[in-house]
């Protein structure tokens, strides 16, 4: 009986997972012609304050500030403020070196990124406020290409397109693809008004909206997702600007990546649970498809390794007798479904992303490796995150 119950769980997981994939693919096909649709020149250029929270970022901060100073935006309408969150390295000195270019500095005791942003937000008087990670670099035309979206009074935030600065190795390549995949899917979700992240590397908000929702939640480890869900809750639209490019440094080693992703997973779980009330018909596609799926995703990430472990344990006693024959005999309906889903997913990503990113051709094997390696990495990160959650280990940014 246990094996039968396990099979029911497997089928349920398969159905929801396939549905999610298909939903994204159908939504993509439905909006294919609009994927790269860019806004024309904005009617006016509103005043913008860019908040750059920094904690021990002496290595990258100068590059970040240089890219901001090089923005193709009237200097009279652009304010840049670095919030030094109690850095113990030379971050303060690097920021001070830019004071002569008009960069403002707020120095405070270390209290985390979200709180730093709130401190900065309290001092913002401009119509728009942008937040930018201190290890990211904005393209010169990015801001100008974003502000036009705010001509729609219902828009509360606009997400830029964050690309990873690839380090050239396998991890760097996986992250580069992941960032491209995220932009691609976020663009699809934009058409459904279901964007749930305003990326930390660079996002722009209507100041009034951000203040009205109470700013950032200092308890969240993934404040850029939390603030987006908060925006959604309060009825603000979040748009994406596919032509506004931002480049972000990414972890170079597996250990760094693990640390970052465990933090993201733990923060993601906190956010999903905090905003679980967004599930329901009144929240539209967000409440019917995206939020239920996010929560189920965490459940599946927990259940699937258990199912795999049970299957391995059950099969292991036969392994020495059956060898590869055992693999052949293991193939059943679920594998056929998975194969069909992988094929559809592969075609979607390969053709869709190559069409979307004209200047970044993705090779056939790269996409294939990504489709296989990425979910495995996700499982590994989640297992660590779940362990840290269960053992109630301290959270830090």
């Amino acid at each position: 009986m246990a094996i039968q119950q396990l099979q029911y769980a497997e089928y349920a997981i398969a159905f929801v997972t396939i549905f999610t994939f298909v939903f994204l693919i159908v939504a993509y096909l439905n909006n294919r012609g609009r994927m790269k649709e860019a806004l024309g020149k904005p009617k006016r250029l509103p005043e913008v304050t860019v908040l750059v929270p920094a904690y021990n970022e002496e290595e990258y901060l100068a590059g970040t500030l240089k890219s901001l100073l090089a923005l193709d935006y009237p200097k009279s309408k652009l304010k840049i403020v670095v919030i030094n969150d109690g850095s113990t390295d030379g971050t303060g000195n690097v920021a001070a070196g830019f004071a002569r270019f008009g960069v403002g500095i707020i120095s405070k005791k270390n209290s985390g990124k979200a709180d730093s942003l709130n401190v900065g937000l309290g001092k913002v008087r401009t119509e728009l406020v942008a937040t930018m990670d201190a290890d990211s670099y904005v393209a010169p035309d990015a801001l100008a290409k974003i502000v036009g979206h705010f001509e729609d009074r219902r828009v509360g935030a606009v997400a830029s397109c964050v690309l990873a600065k690839s380090s050239g190795n396998f991890l760097g390549e996986i992250q580069r693809l992941e960032y491209m995949f995220t932009i691609f899917t976020r663009r699809i979700l934009d058409f459904l008004n279901c964007v749930t992240v305003t990326p930390g590397p660079f996002s722009v908000f209507r100041t009034r909206a951000l203040k009205k929702i109470g700013g950032y939640d200092p308890k969240s480890l993934v404040e850029d997702q939390e603030v987006a869900l908060n925006m959604q809750q309060h009825g603000w639209k979040i748009r994406t600007a596919p032509e506004a490019m931002v480049y972000s440094e990414t972890p170079k080693t597996f250990q760094e990546l693990m640390g970052q992703r465990v933090r993201w997973q733990r923060g993601g779980l906190y956010n999903a649970l905090k905003y679980r009330f967004l599930i329901g018909l009144k929240w539209g596609d967000l409440g019917v498809v995206i939020m239920p799926n996010t929560l189920l995703g965490y459940l599946f990430l927990t259940i699937v390794p258990i199912i795999v472990l049970i299957s391995i344990m059950t099969s292991s006693i036969y392994a020495s007798y059956l060898g590869w024959e055992g693999v052949r005999l293991s193939i059943g309906p679920l594998h056929i479904m998975a194969a069909l889903m992988l094929l559809a997913g592969f075609a979607w990503l390969y053709y869709g992303m190559n069409e979307f990113y004209e200047n970044e051709r993705l090779s056939f094997p790269t996409v294939a490796v990504f489709i296989i390696a990425y979910p495995i990495l996700l499982f590994i990160f989640w297992l660590f995150a779940a362990y840290m959650e269960v053992t109630k280990q301290a959270k830090s940014w």
Binding site: I3, V22, L281, K282, G284, S320, P333, L340
Partner: protein, 214 residues
């Protein structure tokens, strides 16, 4: 209230259902192919057992031993392998074909009887361990016993031969064997005609088998 993309959701649901049905359809077809393939293997092995039995009936002198022993060993290996495959499908995929299992039980019984006969004719020195279980009445304990026997089979000496009969499958010949030894409880183990009822641990089994050989 925000917009729900009913058309999009309905289309996605429909396509998902199609993938699901296609998966189940193709997967079940593959499973049927595997069960049929095993059925063919049972038939082919049954033919080989019949041929060996015929040879034995025609000439049961020790002169025939090299031929009988070699054939019997091959048959036994193939029967065991087929048994593992059938159990694998049952344990990991929940595919239990009663008809196939019934035929396999008959094949295994014939192989067991042939093996005992060859043992007599050729004065072989091996120990037969026969397990009776019922897939209908006993699940957890019988499974545990099967695992213990698996382990003995895997690491144990080559002179131990293990057979397991599902008395709940409805095979008349297996029932006759079970009646012969008055099997009333599952699992029950017969080691050289001596009966052990209930779960017998690996250590105890190894001890009994060891004593028999010495």
């Amino acid at each position: 209230m925000r917009k729900i993309s009913f058309n999009l959701i309905a289309a996605s649901f429909f396509i998902t259902a199609l993938i699901f049905i296609a998966g189940i359809f193709v997967g079940k077809a593959l499973d049927k192919g595997t069960v049929d393939e095993f059925g063919q293997s049972v038939l082919s092995l049954t033919d080989r057992v019949s041929a060996s039995t015929a040879i034995m009936l025609l000439d049961s002198t020790p002169d025939m031993c090299p031929l009988l022993e070699s054939e019997q060993e091959q048959i036994e290996n193939d029967v065991n392998l087929l048994g593992y495959k059938i159990s694998f499908l049952e344990d990991t995929r929940n595919i239990a074909d009663e008809k196939l299992k019934g035929k396999y039980m008959n094949l295994q019984l014939n192989s067991y009887l042939l093996s005992n006969k060859v043992k007599q004719i050729c004065s072989q020195n091996f120990t037969s361990v026969v397990m009776f279980y019922s897939s209908k009445q006993c699940t957890k304990e019988c499974k545990e016993q099967e695992t213990e026997l698996f382990e003995i089979k895997k690491s144990g000496p080559h002179w131990v031969k293990i057979y397991s009969f599902d008395a709940g499958i409805g095979s008349a010949s297996v029932q006759v064997l079970a009646n012969k030894y008055r099997i009333e409880k599952y699992p029950t183990i017969l080691i050289e005609d001596k009966k052990y009822e209930g779960l017998v641990g690996r250590e105890k089994l190894e001890k009994i088998i060891g004593e028999l050989q010495s």
